[in-house]
């Protein structure tokens, strides 16, 4: 009957195999997490990259609308990209102000948390951080119908004769952890 030393030699083999497999698995994970999809405006030079696992959702009047399927709930992490004509009689600050007023009419308890200049794709832009209360009436479970505080960042980027609006929002509980993904998206924008 094999002794303890015999089994120890097999232990080392199994542990070594496990370490090798897990190391390879870590490489697969790193590769998969870095996967991105590219969106390009068919009528311009704007393009950005977003996480490959984010799924498109139906959106009216937007160029791109994607959601993180893992964020779940009725206030999922979402990115919406839209384009509109650039008002020739307004500066960036006025465009941002008009946007804030429009949002305040659409969203309950809309609050601007900050409004700062930002450089995106080499262009001067403005980033408006905001919060509002979402009222998910269509939830199936009672827990899903509780109003949710949503935080977001809207980035307004004038580019030639058009202005791009990137609206990123997530439930308040996950906003801070989700924000780095949006920062990566902004850094990858090209105009």
């Amino acid at each position: 009957m094999p002794g303890r030393a015999h089994w120890k030699s097999h232990d080392y083999t199994i542990y070594l195999a496990l370490v090798i497999l897990l190391a390879l698995g870590w490489g697969v994970r790193a590769s998969a997490e870095g996967r991105e999809k590219t969106f390009a405006d068919p009528q311009g030079t704007f393009h950005l990259k977003y996480p490959a696992r984010w799924l498109p959702t139906a959106g009216a009047g937007s160029l791109l609308e994607v959601e993180d399927p893992l964020s779940g709930g009725l206030a999922p992490t979402r990115l919406v990209v839209s384009r509109g004509p650039l008002p020739t009689d307004q500066g960036l600050d006025q465009i941002a102000q008009a946007e804030v007023l429009a949002r305040a009419r659409q969203l309950d308890f809309y609050r601007v948390l900050s409004s700062d200049p930002k450089s995106v794709g080499g262009r001067q832009a403005v980033a408006i951080e905001y919060a509002f209360v979402a009222d998910p009436q269509e939830g199936v479970l009672a827990a899903e119908r509780i109003p949710v505080v949503v935080r977001g960042v809207e980035v307004i980027i004038p580019a030639g004769t058009v202005v791009y609006r990137l609206d990123f929002r997530a439930a308040d509980a996950v906003f801070t952890s989700a924000l780095p993904a949006f920062d990566r998206i902004l850094r990858g924008i090209a105009l």
Binding site: M1, P2, R4, H6, W7, H10, D11, T13, I14, A17, L18, L21, L22, L24, G25, W26, V28, R29, S31, A32, E33, R35, A52, R53, L70
Partner: protein, 278 residues
């Protein structure tokens, strides 16, 4: 005077395994039939019902194992120890590594290739190590463990231990349990992990019985890892296609896997068995 502990009867292992496969499938049918009585209008039931559902398959296998071999004293305590070790290792090692360290849910479904590679290299590698360790660090060096059949039996117990913990975590995740889909998932998990555990146990048993001629345990580990990863990937593909969810397909796949592995291991173990009885 204590009860003399004897090795696992080789017949009891195979009979219990075959009975368990049939029993698990019947269990799903019975739950399907009883579902309207124990669930709400939407087919959901409290978590307590889910816990019972998760524990039944392993208890069923233990009961079959014990009843089948009632004429000989069996080291049921050893089988229970191995199963418990599988549960503890799954809770302490497998689940935290997969969920918290590798955070598999965030990247595993990026593409079919990533799903396969991640399932093999991460999920299966960790789960099969837990089964190996559950047998290795409890009964492997025991002198009572000296047959291939012993290894298969202990491997199955380790597999069911891991499966039971995975199932308990699954049912405890939500406020309620959808009875029939949950039962299907529980049984599929038990059938699959028992099969993979049986493979590891077979190689451990061969090494115990004929150390000079046995193939390396590493082969058993790698075969179980590969089979587990491929099974997981295939299961995901046939259970959910687009927006359509077909959990009964998973039961068919798991049953076929369990039958094929059981027959194969039985045929491989049989020459040693018949030689000993001659």
């Amino acid at each position: 005077m204590g009860v003399e502990r004897r090795p696992l009867s080789r017949r009891s292992v195979w009979t219990a395994k075959a009975g368990a496969i049939v029993g698990f499938v019947l269990y799903v049918v019975v739950v399907r039939w009883l579902a309207p009585l124990i669930s709400s209008a939407g087919g959901h039931a409290p978590v307590g019902v889910g816990i019972v559902l998760a524990l039944v398959p392993s208890l069923l296998w233990l009961a079959l194992f014990y009843v089948q071999d009632a004429q000989e004293p069996e080291p049921l305590a050893d089988v229970f120890r191995v199963g418990a070790a599988g549960m503890i290792l799954a809770a302490a090692v497998a689940i935290p590594l997969v969920r918290s360290v590798y955070r598999v849910s965030e990247w595993l479904y990026a593409s079919p290739l990533v799903t396969l590679l991640g399932s093999v290299l991460v999920v299966a590698a960790i789960q099969e190590w837990c089964k190996f360790a559950a047998v290795r660090y409890t009964v492997l060096e025991s002198p009572e463990f000296d047959h291939v059949g012993d290894g298969v039996g202990y491997g199955i117990a380790a597999g069911l231990g891991v499966a039971t913990m995975l199932n308990l975590v699954f049912v405890l995740e939500g406020p309620t349990v959808a009875i029939v889909p949950a039962t299907l998932r529980i049984v599929v998990t038990c059938l699959a992990h028992a099969a993979f555990g049986g493979i590891i146990g077979y190689f451990l048993g061969r090494e115990k019985e004929t150390p000079r001629t046995a193939p390396s345990i590493l082969w058993g580990y790698l075969i179980a890892v590969g089979l587990n990863g491929v099974f997981r990937t295939t299961l995901g593909a046939i259970v959910r296609t687009g927006l359509v969810y077909r959990p009964w397909n998973g039961l068919v796949l798991a049953t076929v896997l369990a039958v094929v592995v059981t027959v194969l291991l039985f045929r491989l173990a049989r020459p040693e068995w018949e030689m000993r009885e001659a």
